[in-house]
């Protein structure tokens, strides 16, 4: 073992302390995405419709877009003052901004100030996350022995997916405890507020950590970089590796990740119209089954090299995404199915809305189909009290419940996509750490990572939804639901070619230089 690396017990402590903090940062970051539709309803006017979703996704995406700037700011700090204090700071920023999102009043109370405030807090979240991951990955890698670097850093990689798991779990638990109405009204704030407890625990754990041995050695020898940004991006030798890391590995990794987890959930809920609970538990099960594969592929990359494991994950995504999403559509389709007559239930209620005196008629229907799917439709018609007022559009909400067999096929198909994620994401921390020297590692690896994940990956739901909207016509108002996949397919395909031609498969033994 390298003299500067750490013993087995100690590395376990390093991994636990780093992982818990990173897990919580991911949790904070993801609850916004998981609650995007609901937040949109509170932040924007009630009649904003689809544009509220697109604008909320744009705020969601803004958090991703600023991640590269966070990588620059905190990466530089990490290379100047050390890894430990930098990612302690990012944790505090993330926790405080998440807590504050839970306190922001809605559009009804403060108008457009609400989305502006949330946007600012979301930007702070993005900056903090931009500084967090590079620090945690570098910190663990600099403690790990050369022949186990992929294995040890893959534990950090699990946190991104487990953060999503935790966020979905807390959301479902809160919703089940409060009920739909209370959750939609105020309960969605609770997962944001809970974050503060998790962050305080994590800060306590991280305060006890020691600085990385590689950085300490450099600091003692007076060899740390005085200008990490300049050395990372103004020196051709290093900058060309930053570009290679971005175009040959992380941009493809980013889209594989966000397609497999976020686009899948958004597609199942918004396009297939699967109900809130099932669309989330499908992802929860798939994550639970697939997460150990991060460790498996991380460990395999120590033996067989990082390159081909990551590129195989990308290629599989390119080849199979369209068939997988087509299957989602076919399995959840009820238009071609025969309705079981006699099983339908209709419930109608009329009430006078408080304040406006409008007449609100709500019709709930429940239909059962031969393929086992149950479709619940809630139709809300509003008749204004003032006759001269324009009659608002009828609001229709459709929710499908899958039968058990189909439900498990959905889980299997999401699992397959997350397995691709584990292939590209399990080895990536070790790959990036080995590409850059210690004195500018935090800065150099953070920027391509966050452009790849924050920009290319983070924009998958937003750009996917946007591309689908291009295909909407009067004859086909829903558009081509599979069109959004062309974006991740194009990016992952390009990245696969660049990676296959330009990347080396050999492992760098010495990351202490």
């Amino acid at each position: 073992m390298n003299s500067s690396t750490t013993g087995t017990n100690s590395i376990r402590r390093v991994i636990s302390a780093s992982s818990v903090g990173t897990l919580i940062e991911w949790y904070d970051f993801y609850i916004f995405g998981s609650l995007a539709i609901l937040i949109g309803k509170h932040l924007f006017p009630a009649d904003a419709g689809a544009s509220a979703l697109i604008n909320t996704l744009a705020i969601f995406a803004a958090g991703f877009i600023v991640r590269p700037f966070g990588a620059l700011v905190f990466g530089r700090l990490g290379d100047l003052v050390g890894r430990k204090y930098t990612f302690l700071l990012t944790l505090v920023l993330m926790g405080a901004s998440t807590f504050a999102i839970g306190l922001i009043p809605g559009y009804k109370s403060i108008g457009y100030t609400a989305p502006v405030l949330v946007l600012i807090l979301r930007l702070i979240q993005g900056l903090a996350l931009g500084g967090e991951y590079g620090g945690a990955a570098t910190y663990v890698a600099e403690h790990a022995p050369a022949n186990r670097r992929g294995f040890y850093t893959s534990w950090i990689q699990t946190t991104a997916t487990l953060g999503l798991f935790l966020s979905l779990g807390v959301i479902l638990l809160t919703k089940n405890m409060l009920g739909d109405d209370a959750f939609n009204e105020y309960g969605w704030r609770i997962p944001f507020l809970v974050s503060v407890v998790l962050v305080l625990i994590s800060i306590y754990i991280r305060m006890k950590m020691q600085e990385s041995p590689a950085f300490t050695k450099l600091k003692n020898e007076g060899k740390t970089s005085a200008k990490p940004l300049r050395e990372s991006f103004r020196k051709r030798g290093n900058f060309k590796m930053v570009l290679l890391a971005l175009f040959g590995a992380v941009m493809g990794q980013g889209v594989v990740w966000y397609t497999g987890q976020f686009y899948a959930q958004s597609f199942i809920e918004n396009v297939c119209k699967i109900n809130f609970e099932q669309s989330r538990t499908i992802l929860l099960w798939a994550i639970a089954f697939a997460t150990p594969l991060f460790i498996v592929f991380g460990a395999l990359s120590d033996r067989y090299g990082r390159k081909w494991i990551m590129l195989t994950g990308m290629l599989l995504g390119v080849l199979t995404w369209r068939p997988i999403y087509k299957t989602f559509l076919e399995l959840s389709d009820t238009k071609q199915q025969t309705e079981i007559t006699g099983d339908a239930a209709i419930e109608r209620s009329t009430e006078i809305a408080a304040g406006t005196n409008d007449t609100v008629t709500t019709t709930r229907t429940e239909k059962h189909f031969e393929n086992g799917i149950i479709v619940k439709e809630t139709k809300k018609e509003i008749l204004p009290a003032v006759a001269s007022q324009e009659i608002p559009k009828v609001q229709i909400k459709t929710e499908k419940t899958l039968p058990t067999g189909t439900y498990w096929i959905f889980i299997a198909l999401v699992f397959v996509q997350i397995a691709y994620v584990t292939m590209v994401y399990g080895p990536i921390a070790a790959f990036l750490v080995e590409l850059f020297p210690t004195k500018i590692r935090y800065t150099s690896m953070s920027l391509p990572y966050h452009i790849g994940n924050g920009v290319f990956g983070g924009l998958v739901p937003f750009l996917g939804t946007l591309i689908v909207s291009f295909t909407m016509t009067e004859a086909n108002p829903a558009g081509d639901p599979l069109a959004g996949l062309w974006y991740p397919i194009g990016v992952a395909g390009l990245c696969f070619i660049i990676g296959a031609v330009y990347l080396a498969n050999k492992r760098d033994e010495n990351v202490m230089d």
Binding site: S51, I54, N55, A58, A61, I65, K235, R236, G237, N238, F239, K240, M241, L243, L244, L246, F247, F436, P437, T438, I451, V455, L459, L463, L466, F470, I498, V501, Y502, A504, D508, N510, D513
Partner: protein, 85 residues
């Protein structure tokens, strides 16, 4: 293999401006087709964000292509000192 790396450099170098042109063309097309008012504002904002983010990345792709064309990737550095130039 090294010749393929260099030859593909031309493709990456040209891909950057080609993607910028494609995005600008799409932006003008979609903004033009959007209905007057809030819909056009939203479309302009969305495309503004897309161009703001992706134009620097396309420039990065051009630089990557230029390095590939010059043979910078024919041998990847094995030690940190080789990144110093």
């Amino acid at each position: 293999m090294n010749n393929i790396k260099k030859a593909l450099g031309v493709l990456w170098f040209l891909l950057g401006p080609a993607l910028v042109a494609l995005m600008i063309w799409q932006a003008l097309d979609k903004i033009g087709k959007a209905a007057e008012g809030a819909a056009r504002q939203n479309t302009t904002l969305q495309w503004g964000i897309i161009l703001f983010i992706f134009i620097p990345i396309c420039i990065g792709m051009m630089i990557f292509g230029w390095y590939a064309l010059r043979g910078e990737y024919t041998k990847l550095p094995g030690k940190s000192e080789e990144l110093e130039d």
